[in-house]
């Protein structure tokens, strides 16, 4: 469904992403892991075009999307969250969610900010995530965990086909993490494809169908979690070793 081909992002001499190639199958939960600085978030940013890739291609359902602007990518059905929750303060949770709903054409721009149907849909999503009680709370009054849930709610508002989650459980307490895992699994069971960047190995191993391991901007291994965790390259990368080809 999502194909990343030879993706590169160079910042001057630093090759943050250096020829990453991987695919995300429809209906799967795919995890992107790797040590700090492996280029996971940069790869994410390139896919959602938050940063412009230096080279490479990204295809979504057979359509090349790496030259589209971010809002177009969102309207093609790919939505993302940010590592550090970026919410719109001074806007209520429900506004934060509804801002993500689709607007078509000039006439769409002029219709009321929140229609009754949109409010209903937003409340249904908030109910699914169990946070209806904060619907009219100001965005910046939320706890970190609530912000993560609000981000997830906002994603769902845009009717995505695939969601990219950047550390959805980063910095949240274990019980909330369980809740988030439950939500992601439930969404996946409804047919949503998920690509996830996460440091929490426990979460990755339990949740994902496929794991893509990056180190130094490249994909060094991919496969089912139980295979990946035993791969010598992966152990090497995580334990601070160097890649073979670099050592040579």
């Amino acid at each position: 469904m999502l194909e990343v081909k030879n993706l590169c992002k160079h910042y001057g001499g630093i090759k943050a992403v250096d020829g990453a190639t991987f695919t995300v199958e429809r209906g799967s939960i795919t995890a992107l892991i790797g040590p700090n600085g492996a280029g996971k978030t940069t790869a994410f940013n390139c896919i959602s075009r938050t940063v412009t890739p230096t080279s490479g291609e990204v295809w979504l359902d057979g359509v090349r999307i790496d030259q589209l602007r971010p809002h177009k990518i969102t309207s093609k059905g790919l939505s993302r969250t940010f590592q550090i929750s970026r919410n719109l303060s001074d806007m209520t949770v429900i506004e934060n969610v509804i801002v993500q709903s689709r607007v078509d054409g000039i006439r769409g721009l002029l219709r009321p900010a929140m229609s009754a149907e949109e409010k209903d849909k937003a409340m249904t999503i908030l109910d699914f995530l169990g946070i209806t009680r904060i619907a009219y709370e100001d965005g910046h009054n939320l706890s970190y965990g609530q912000k993560k849930l609000m981000d997830l709610a906002a994603l769902l508002m845009s009717d995505p086909k695939i969601i990219l989650l950047d550390e959805p459980a980063g910095g949240v307490n274990p019980s909330l993490m369980e809740e988030i895992i439950g939500h992601i699994r439930a969404l996946n069971e409804k047919g949503l494809t998920v690509l996830i960047v996460e440091h929490n190995m426990d979460l990755i191993m339990r949740l994902s169908h496929k794991v893509v391991v990056m180190a130094q901007g490249r994909v060094i291994c991919e496969g089912p979690p139980e295979v990946v965790r035993k791969d010598p390259h992966v152990l090497d990368a995580y334990l601070g070793g160097v890649l073979e080809e670099e050592a040579a």
Binding site: T74, L88, L110, T132, A135
Partner: protein, 347 residues
């Protein structure tokens, strides 16, 4: 294929929530007093009746002058308040509107009151084109680019002989008796101001307005939320230029002359910024209250201290002290504290 969430098992909870939200919405409606701006408008429309009992030209002039600033500050608010792009170059659109309609008046004798919407449109097109270039940067860079725009426009108009260069040009006066001479411009300006306030209200409560608010908070997030940020920003620039251009058109004929050092002054732009900030950026009533306050303060200090430098100091002091106690502007701060009087809640 998209994922739809069914009404979950907890739909009774949802129903209760919905009832609760409706209650909240009703409560919000009750704190809003739409009758107040309408009553204010009615009083202003009836105000010229005073001319039957005496000469109140000064009062009419003050209201007209304030209305022009209400319109311009509210227009500025679309870009500066909603989208968060502070422009110090809006006097360019004031000038373009004034000159465009003024030239039509001078050449073809068509009143600017008729051509004002057209002048606004010209300003909007110019705003759109300039926005395409300058809205690529934000923060201080954008402010500086807007000042640069103003300087370029000033040099251009100072040297453009066709429109009279630095000397400007005189426009024909109307032939109404002096008692009624201000009336057409008075009503035109009130209408423009009312239309602008109404339009900013509509914009704020539309998808467009929600998008602009998102842009002002976090542009990257807004873009990844599916908002075409470039288009939204440029449209905001065009809309805000439209209202300022319309005001400029009528102002030119009212003054009966056009000159670059009247229209293309940074003081005019700075006033728009100050009014919006003092009243409350991003609120509907803010620029209105700000415009009234600043015009009133100016008049008061000029009357009491004379047109010396001290009167400027007086206005400045009041502004500084005001912003210390009302950092989000009068309306913004009061609303945040839940102390906004009903009559001023226009949002």
């Amino acid at each position: 294929m998209t994922v739809t969430l069914q009404q979950s098992s907890a739909s009774s909870v949802l129903k209760a929530r919905r009832a609760h939200n409706e209650k909240l919405a009703r409560k919000a409606d009750q704190t809003r007093a739409t009758w107040f701006p309408l009553a204010l408008l009615a009083i202003l429309v009836a105000l010229p009746l005073l001319q039957f009992v005496g000469n109140y030209n000064y009062v009419l002039h003050l209201v007209l002058f304030t209305a022009s600033y209400v319109a311009m500050a509210s227009g500025w608010n679309i870009l500066g308040g909603f989208a968060g792009y502070v422009s110090l170059g809006h006097s360019v659109f004031f000038g373009v509107g004034g000159y465009f309609a003024g030239m039509l008046l001078a050449r073809y004798g068509i009143s600017t009151i008729i051509t004002a919407p057209l002048a606004g449109l010209v300003a909007a097109v110019l705003g759109y084109l300039i926005g395409l270039i300058t809205l690529k940067v934000r923060g201080p860079s954008f402010i500086i680019s807007s000042i640069a725009l103003l300087m370029i426009a000033r040099i251009l108009f100072d040297n453009w002989e066709f429109v009279g260069g630095a000397n400007g040009l005189t426009l024909p006066t109307n032939d109404l008796p002096v008692q009624w001479a201000k009336l057409p411009y008075y009503y035109a300006m009130i209408a423009i101001a009312a239309f602008t306030v109404w339009a900013t209200y509509r914009i704020k409560h539309s998808k467009f307005g929600l998008g602009l608010r998102a842009i002002s908070k976090d542009e990257i997030k807004a873009e990844s939320a599916g908002i075409d940020t470039r288009f939204y920003k440029v449209m905001a620039f065009a809309f805000s230029a439209f209202f300022v251009g319309m005001t400029g058109a009528v102002w030119g004929e009212y003054l009966t002359y056009l000159r670059p050092n009247i229209f293309l002054l940074i003081l005019v732009s700075a006033n728009l910024v100050l009014m919006s900030i003092l009243g409350g950026k991003g609120t509907i009533a803010g620029p209105v209250v700000g415009a009234i306050l600043i015009v009133a303060l100016n008049e008061f200090f000029v009357a009491t201290m004379g047109a010396s430098e001290i009167n400027i100091l007086g206005t400045g002091l009041v502004m500084a002290v005001g912003l210390i106690f009302f950092p989000l502007g009068l309306i913004g701060t009061l609303a945040k504290k839940g102390k906004l009087p009903r009559v001023l809640n226009w949002d």
